[in-house]
Symmetry: C2
């Protein structure tokens, strides 16, 4: 049940407990494509993956993802999601605004041996950026 | 074969022949979510859908989509795509730059009775915008 695995992954992102990821992601996790992500193109070990999660949670300590669609075929699960959070920390080029921001994205996950092993992602970074300026 | 239908849809977008859409899209086509799209939230008849295609092709007369992944389940097909085109026309807030731009996106399509009836989309608008400024 790859869908259930991905639901658990989003639950882990919504909590502040890095250990939750240990059973969800592969030993090595590849960010195949993710424009604007500092780790794009890299393959991460688990500690680096957790560092990446903490990077997002430092910018948005109350970051919360909501999944609206899951589409599964073979070793892939596509997700339509939205996220909201209060930007209490800095983002690249954007000092903390203390604003509640919302943004939309879609992600395709690769699953190997019951663990999430990588993703391709696009999110509406311009929409997010414009909210910080409004 | 919903995947084949979606492949045909991208082929139609890559050509400049509005009639190609007649057999591909439903009488009514809903843009459920598509940040930055002027028709977001609207349900379009075929003529309005074609107007929307022409709007994109006016900005990028040589617009070409490349599909890298198709994930199908039930009445949905998720697509990972990239696009490139020379911006010979204006975009909202961005006068024609004459630059060749590339951008990435993901889209989930809804299929009803063998026709595409709507989509949810996110694309990297910030990446596109930054290329117009560089």
């Amino acid at each position: 049940m790859n869908k259930k695995l991905i639901e658990n992954l989003y639950q882990a992102w919504n909590q502040d407990d890095p250990k939750k990821f240990d059973d969800l992601i592969s030993e090595w996790y590849t960010i195949f494509s993710d424009p604007g992500d500092g780790w794009e193109g890299k393959t991460l070990d688990k500690d680096t993956y957790k560092t990446r999660v903490q990077f997002s949670r430092k910018a948005f300590p109350d970051l919360k993802f909501s999944v609206s669609q899951l589409i599964e075929e073979g070793d892939r699960v596509a997700v339509v999601w939205s996220a909201e959070g209060t930007q209490l920390g800095d983002l690249p080029g954007i000092p903390a605004t203390k604003k509640k921001l919302t943004f939309a994205g879609q992600t395709v996950y690769q699953i190997k041996n019951g663990k999430v092993s990588g993703h391709w992602q696009t999110m509406d970074r311009l929409g997010l950026f414009m909210q910080t300026r409004s």
